[in-house]
Symmetry: D3
Subunit: 305 residues, 6 copies
């Protein structure tokens, strides 16, 4: 077998790591990895999906009469595991301004407690999403098929969990949960996006929804729709201003067809219909119907440019 | 360790499940899950891929001289497993109008038998797809590379299996098989789509092909192409009419470049070339070449709008 | 249980395989599979990621003070495994013109040795990519989050490894490594593409970068951007000409927004900004800003058509 | 790689199987394996151990407050799995005189129901065994150590479960459960043996306890003790008479030291002490102390020969 | 977390390994492990057990009609894997006197070929062992129970495979196969022992059978029986003489009860019955019955001391 | 499917657990399991075996030149994992008299540190055991075979690790390590036993060595040998006196043949040979040879009774 200069490469890699850590002002003290784990969150989300939909996403040998047993056991384990990850995120955040361990513990525990209490409400919202998908797609044969097969529904299960974590001050855990869905579905929803009941994304690949987007009830989206930012707002000195509303507001009952791009803090009014591939950077009035043709033929139709 | 109100949440989740089941008129009788399993189908498809291409997608320790042993054993196990899933789908469908178990058994067995007999034909079709990819991509170095690496080929293996299940009255199993490929490739082909030999999708991410699409021989597609429905046809009372042809017909030797959107029951004539990002809702005559430019400059060129 | 005609189907499949092998002029001699393995490369890349970023992508129980032990052990095992795969590719390539085994061994060993020696440099490049992502996305909270969560970073880790293999004469291994990232991220970068430091792809789904693309420093891309070929160059007899430069050159500091399509050997000049969804087949001068509006309203603006 | 005559050997093995099946009058009809599975029972026993001792033999992440959730879920799954195995045993038994499937179902269900109801009693008995081990071994530091570490306790958990199955008409399942412990501990207790509370086997390797043995309360045994049959009783025509009592009766508070062999339906009286390596084929009176020396020196001491 | 002097210990362990390798005159050249693997043989034996008894020890989903497919595929893979291990053993043996690789290959291939051809005969012998166990134990309910549950049968499956390897010049592989059974059953049969058809070991824990033992047809043994060597024969210079017959010859139809110890090259004549715990170092005539009592009371009974 | 009264049984099992916990004065407070884990120790021992013998018991892909990398990484992870288990044992011990967490941490860290530093010495001792086995068994072909195959060597690896833990105040961890070997080999060595270099147990099944046994250099034992206690010493009030020397002292170069039983604090003098199955409760002088015959024929030979 061949022999490689492994020791030399190890040393060189060590050197590059040192450069990086110095440039990032990281300590080189001994110690273990202190960062949330993608694998751990994969497992936690899997358990939460089972606890939310035990007879469909739980173990195949589950039976109605022992659903609660399963839900209770699974939930307890998932919450304890989530607590560990929450502590890791809070600890990591405190690397520049250390906080007492007990304080971090209390914050983490409170966040997970609230998260847990929000689960029944999330299940109700997800039921509305499943129904919306079932009613919105003529090809759907049952709500069960929708729950098991539709990538848009999978993305929403992850998003509703991630958004809850985001609101509770755990944006990194939220991000990991969102990316797990992104990898599987090609749907990229920022955990900060606010999405009301009955939301449905069909096909889904290439959809991007930004952090400050606000979406009303019964909205329907197709593949490759972008709800993005037009420009990053800067202050008078040219610095990026974080947290400013910069993504669209989509009101109730809007439908957005495939490939449409909506950029900036514009409002798509209640019931508006946005055609495929259109490019929108201004408000659209309620009930309006915007298509490529309408844009090209009628440049003066106000709201839609 | 922290303590959460698990029992309360279990009770609340139980309540939400009851609401849902009542709203869906589901029984709450004791019993086990009776629904096809995504994991089971993942395993079945994996086995079928091995049985179809034993020396490339079968086990790494396989040898030519025992190919048939492997194929026979794997196939038998896969078909038995598929039979179990077929029964689950048929049983689920019969939840509103129960059928005798023996009748369901017979239907399931007959469907799987036909599926099994179709496999050699599917392998031949897939060989034509592999060849098409090899010939259509100047970067391809061997048919083996194409089979192992190209997401478009993976999508077609799944689609040809799924389409067979769809034709045999197992649309839910078909859908699960299709979604497994969608998750891995970003290519979303409805199991109902009819696709003839020598089909090739390059890159693939974002491709969507609808249920009633009909695709001829030697057709080539690039990423983000949509063969979609323009409008859901409704009857005189406004109800959705299911099953009506509503997606494009693509004749032999057509090429469709990236991002093109073809909507409705239009026909792309034999040998037509559709440029990138164009938006088509009318027929395109055989041999025509349609580009964004041609659309904007020549609004009167009939077929292509 | 049902009985299927497994023996008949095995025989029929055998027949189709024979047809295929005859048509491909493959031998039917006994022997084992001699082709690189996707599973093996998955494992190798996983190990290399750990060796490159031990405290973030290595095992969760790793500690600073034994990083080098881990890196050394993991690297050695990964390189030996890579050597096996390299031999398989070289052997496969030599199927038409056999080379002595020892010669193949030497070539494989030399390639893996060079690959190994390139790793510290790759780590430095990847650090620049991580920094670019961190600085380019206002939502990023830490470089660690970027490394763990961003699909664009995952795609670049795979690409930089794959590009090295490509340069060392192992294009099939390179392709497999690239497709592993494509499947997870929806980002399709051909291993041949040359990409300089500080490259960042945001969101990423649907991005396609072709084989002869050349990308400068600090370039930023959004989802669904295509850097493709306009036409496959052919020689005077109409044969495809392989290896000719046919994809864009993107100079330093260019930004390309979502959905833009750049086709052919055009150059996007230093610092150019390409707007969303635009379609470009001509050069763009340095510093230019191209948008859909500018294209429609100002057809005469030279560089951008 | 080498080539072996696999097809010939397959054919020869087929021939030997046919011979065997003919000699055993087994049918060669198509069909699946219909026999209980060692792997399935391994899993079932593992689950039952967790349900009986959740905080010690259950999952490491279990917490007191969700013990009941875990126990309920685990128990339900284990009982359903046991029901499947029970049906397999009953079906197998009925291979010579077929019974209606529904009757077999009813019998299996009733047996598993009784088994389930017996579990709390078994836990109480096992607690007495754990206590006996703790009190009987001066080296034991806690009851928890005893439960986790002592092979004699593991053997008793299996035995008490197996004995219950044996009494309920499932001797094959019982046997499998017993052999699983035998393989791990070297302790071979026939499922038919009746053993009262507070039983302790120290070290254990080589202990054999026969089918009709009857053991009282608080009995203690050391390694390599045999409670065996002297002779297989035959009827007047020389046929083996099954089920006749042929193993020892051991009364309360007896201690039997390592290597002692007690054969036949003899009685070791209450509180007797049997020394190491002695060989006993006659009754031993209550309170007697039998050693090798006493046997050799005092052949007349009645009960002990 | 705590910090240990790992680097120091690594260095010290390195030193001890060097001492050992020097004392053993092992080279310290770079290179990989070249020694048969216990894990590999575990897997090989598992496969061979399935190939020998497909419907009982093969996969649970196997069906009669595809037995041969399974057997052929499994056998082929197992034989190829065994060939790798055989080469490792032969290479290791040649470490002091190197042989050309091709010669080792030929030897290994020939050995595995013979091993493969012996399998049908081994299956027939094992059938006789299963029958013997079924007939010899009044508690046995079916031959299937015997095959699945009896440790003595498991030990014989391993032994008959191991003995074949031993005869074919692969004593190390044979030894590993034997030890795998020893660990599971407590039965220690040296691969060299020659054992004829219809052999049955009941209970089995503690049985030891030496390398040159010769056992006839229909012999029955109970737990803790030793067929050992009395003394290691030495030549005139006091060196151990390897390979000399030094263990008992047991003729047809002999029964040996638990704990009996037979030492040296003595012969137990046809049909002899050896009682429990007796100690024998002389021949026993055919048909004799030897018990502890007979030994103590009748020291003059010739053969049995 | 059948329905069982799972809720009732859960309640009943809860009741039995409460009884037990009350009887054991255990709290019922919420909280997690706080007890060392058999699975964790299995993994730790596996790692330590790899670190001690990297090229034989480490990963199959290991190569000489990266041994130290592997040893360092494996050792670090194993020691950290051991530290967790050590804390669990110390915490559990402190359940009746709580100690500050930091004090327990310090004690655990110190113990693991010493354990780590002892490893090179243990490796040297184990090398002497391997050599002793190789020299003591005429059937052994290489030291490598001995290390991989001999259960007696496996038992000694576990014992030497366990004894170190025992000396460092972690008797429960030690016990678990010992029982892991007991289950695999049938050899039961109490972690407290002191065993000098060059120890060899052949065959091994049924060997029992007690807590206060002291064994010299180059001692050899065969299967089923017991070095046990004759009687548990009690004080004047009849309480068991723990820790008193109560097992044999075996001096250098003693050989003890199969089945011999040595009980009590007796001394087997240097070079003594103890025959098979003998029963000894008195001292044996140096160089003496004791057999069953000598015992029966010569009751007056002092030391050996």
């Amino acid at each position: 077998m061949a022999h490689f200069e492994v020791s030399d490469i190890v040393r060189a890699l060590h050197g590059v790591r040192d450069e990086w850590r110095d440039s990032q002002r990281r300590s080189r003290e001994p110690g273990a990895r202190e960062f949330p784990s993608r694998d751990a969150l994969t497992q936690i989300v899997e358990s939460l999906k089972g606890a939310l939909f035990p007879m469909r996403l739980g173990p195949p040998d589950l039976r109605h009469e022992s659903e609660d047993f399963y839900v209770g056991h699974t939930l307890d384990a998932a919450l304890q595991a989530l607590l560990v990850q929450a502590r890791l995120e809070l600890n990591f955040n405190a690397r520049h301004e250390p906080r007492p361990a007990s304080e971090i513990d209390d914050t983490a525990t409170e966040a997970v407690r609230r998260f847990a209490n929000a689960l029944p409400g999330l299940r109700r919202l997800l039921d509305s999403d499943v129904l919306a998908a079932y009613q919105g797609d003529p090809a759907a044969r049952s709500v069960d098929e929708v729950l098991l097969c539709y990538p848009g529904v999978l993305a929403m299960i992850h998003h509703r969990l991630a958004h809850e974590l985001y609101k509770l001050g755990l944006p990194l855990l939220a991000r990991i949960v969102a990316e797990l869905a992104h990898a599987q579905t090609g749907i990229d929803i920022h955990p900060g996006a606010q999405i009301d009941a009955g939301f449905f994304i069909d096909h889904g690949t290439g959809v991007v929804i930004g952090e400050t987007a606000v979406i009303g009830k019964r909205v329907r989206l197709y593949q490759a729709v972008t709800l993005g930012a037009k420009r990053f707002p800067t202050d008078t000195e040219g610095n990026l201003q974080k947290g400013l509303p910069r993504h669209p507001v989509v009101e109730d009952d809007v439908v957005i067809y495939a490939g449409a791009t909506i950029l900036g803090r514009v409002t798509l009014g209640k019931g508006a219909v946005i055609g495929g591939n259109v490019w929108i950077t201004d408000d659209v009035p309620p009930g309006a119907s915007v298509t490529q043709a309408s844009l090209q033929n009628a440049p003066k139709t106000g709201g839609a440019a």
